[in-house]
Amino acid sequence: MTVLIASDQIDAIKTHATSTYPEECCGFLLGVDSALRTIHRILSASNANAESRRNRYNIDPMDFIRADEEARKSNLNLVGIYHSHPDAPAKPSQFDLEHAWPWYTYIVLSIQNGVPKDVSAWVLSEDRSNFRQDDLRISGA
């Protein structure tokens, strides 16, 4: 699937990742589906992992419910999740795979030494065995 996101929203993810580095950041992707999936807005969330935020993130279920309501109010859908990998590649890990949901777009941002690097988008395969990389297109400056 092709995923379209505006550059200012990518910038917002990068700013979030920089502010939490060396810990992981996470948040929601709000958008609409037509021939392609367009992400209109991101909503940052706080990393609720208590013990190891440098390589783990959790999102509080109540944050999820609020994000879903926020999406509905804006006539958007909650279409995915973003998170950062501090000092690690922009690829989903085995741990990401084990905890992934179908259909959502997972955007992963690599941040090295505090500087945002690669960004990529992924979707879980139907049999849950792996992630397929989405075609992530960044629009407009």
């Binding site: 999102i59 279920p61 999820f64 419910i65 501090p86 000092d87 179908p102 259909w103 505090g114």
Partner: protein
């Protein structure tokens, strides 16, 4: 009851793009069963193969998490809304350490020159080592080479846990210590030696036994945990705490000529409990104090652990995650076994039952015939034994050590029956006579006493502290080992 099941966007395409589905159900479990029966492709996303809810599926009845109610047994009534809420979790499996803000002084540049010119380490890698925080549990045979090499390599912060004092019998393998340290607390001597070697290292001393009460607080401060302990309760404790905190656990163990090394990291592979779900019966596997260890062996195993630790800090190479390396010094052979994560592991499996630290002494002893369960009336002290000898009483003293130990020293009048032969030679004992069993420190003889008691021998006792206690308290001329 007719309830509304709200479906998250991620699952709507399985239910014909509906936001919610009406189902007839009396409980949450029934509602979810109806849903997955009507839309079978949905099932494996929210249920495990064994039919439980996946642990990243939250279910709310109206605005209440069913975990705070009666889980899937939570009753529902007409008009209730049952909402499936995705628990969102993930993260990078490999802990990559940040070296941001870390600088090396000129002195450090010179010191680590041989690292800096290696492409796999370089300046960035050396800064990662300096940023690294490693906890070494136990500063004995394994902890000695571990802490020396980690300090020499430039690991920035070393935590050391031990509560022992240096004994002359340690010097055969514990290369951290010298003759002048005998009698000193190990941590004090270890810190002095490490700072002599590399004053750039910050050493944190925890002069305590690692317990279920303090383990989480100590371990959470560190990036990598290295297990250099010699007993099962602590080994299980370290494992469980590392799984709960998501820390890599660099494991090593030694006995006589043989060693084992692995890296347990539950986020990427198996843990110690996947390998050994249950500890052996206490007293059956002799400790190094009882069975002996080749002095060089902890040197080999400890430096392999140090190597794995450095690789984790650098984020380089293939670690021993999922592999158990066996070393046999007598054959001079390394063998590798593949380890698999146990999906039913009580601590790192799909449905863990151990969610906080337990009582590990109990887990490794009580109720299974161990020395820990030895009732006080089944014990006899060396002073009481001496008194029996002095009064001229007839004493049946059975030494259950091995013949080569008996050769080093024995209590006069004792009869040698190695512990492994006790079950075969039960007919040499009778039910009416009294017997006192003794080994090196009381572990093996404790096993023998419990074994015989279970067979109905009521007049068997264990010599507390074994021949070691006899040598220290009664007969200082006796050689100790």
């Amino acid at each position: 009851m007719v309830v509304k099941l709200k479906i998250p966007t991620a699952l709507r395409h399985f239910v014909g793009n509906q936001e919610s589905v009406q189902v007839q159900a009396a409980t949450v479990g029934e509602a979810i069963k109806h849903l997955t029966n009507s839309y079978p492709t949905l099932k494996h996303h929210i249920m495990t193969d064994s039919g439980d809810l996946r642990n990243f599926v939250n279910v709310y009845v109206n605005d209440q998490d069913i975990r705070t109610l009666k889980n899937v047994g939570t009753p529902v009534k007409d008009g209730d809304t049952v909402t499936i809420v995705p628990a969102i979790a993930g993260g990078n499996s490999k802990l990559q350490l940040s070296n941001r803000g870390i600088e090396l002084s000129q002195d450090e540049m010179r010191r680590y020159g041989r690292h800096l010119i290696m492409p796999e380490v370089g300046l960035e890698g050396q800064k990662k080592l300096k940023a690294g925080k490693v906890l070494v549990i136990g500063t004995g045979g394994l902890g000695s080479p571990l802490s020396l090499y980690l300090a020499a390599a430039g690991v920035g912060r070393l935590g050391l846990v031990d509560f022992d004092q240096v004994d002359a019998s340690n010097l055969q393998r514990q290369v951290l210590y010298s003759v002048r340290d005998v009698g000193r607390p190990k941590l004090e001597a270890a810190k002095d030696r490490i700072l002599e070697l590399n004053p750039n290292v910050k050493v944190d001393s925890y002069e305590t036994r690692l317990t279920s009460e303090n383990a989480m607080d100590i371990i959470k401060e560190y990036d990598v945990i290295v297990d250099g302990t010699d007993n099962f309760p602590t080994r299980y404790l370290v494992n469980d705490a590392c799984v709960l905190l998501g820390k890599p656990n660099v494991y090593g163990s030694i006995f006589r000529f043989e060693g084992q090394i692995s890296v347990f990291d539950a986020s990427r592979g198996p843990c110690y409990r996947c390998l050994y779900p249950e500890p052996p019966p206490p007293g059956l596997v002799p400790s190094c104090a009882e069975g002996g260890v080749l002095g060089i062996l902890p040197g080999v195993v400890g430096t392999l652990q140090a190597t794995e630790t450095i690789k984790i800090l650098l984020g380089r190479g293939d670690s021993l995650v999922g592999r158990l390396l066996l070393f046999d010094a007598l054959q001079m052979q390394f063998t590798e076994l593949k380890l698999h994560k146990n999906p039913n592991c009580p601590v790192c499996g799909n449905n863990p039952t151990v969610k906080s630290l337990i009582d590990y002494e109990e887990f490794c002893g009580v109720g299974r015939g161990g020395t820990n369960t030895m009732a006080e009336e089944n014990e006899i002290t060396v002073k009481e034994l001496k008194h029996l000898f002095d009064t001229g009483a007839h004493v049946n003293l059975i030494d259950v050590r091995e013949p080569h130990e008996y050769e080093i020293c024995h209590i006069k009048g004792s009869k040698l029956i190695p512990v492994s032969q006790i079950p075969l030679r039960v007919n040499e004992f009778n039910l009416t006579d009294e017997y006192i069993f003794q080994c090196h420190t009381g572990g093996r003889s404790g096993w023998a006493v419990n074994f015989l008691r279970q067979l109905g021998f009521k007049k068997v006792k264990n010599l507390t502290g074994g021949i070691e206690a006899w040598a220290t308290e009664i007969d200082p001329s006796m050689p100790r080992y």
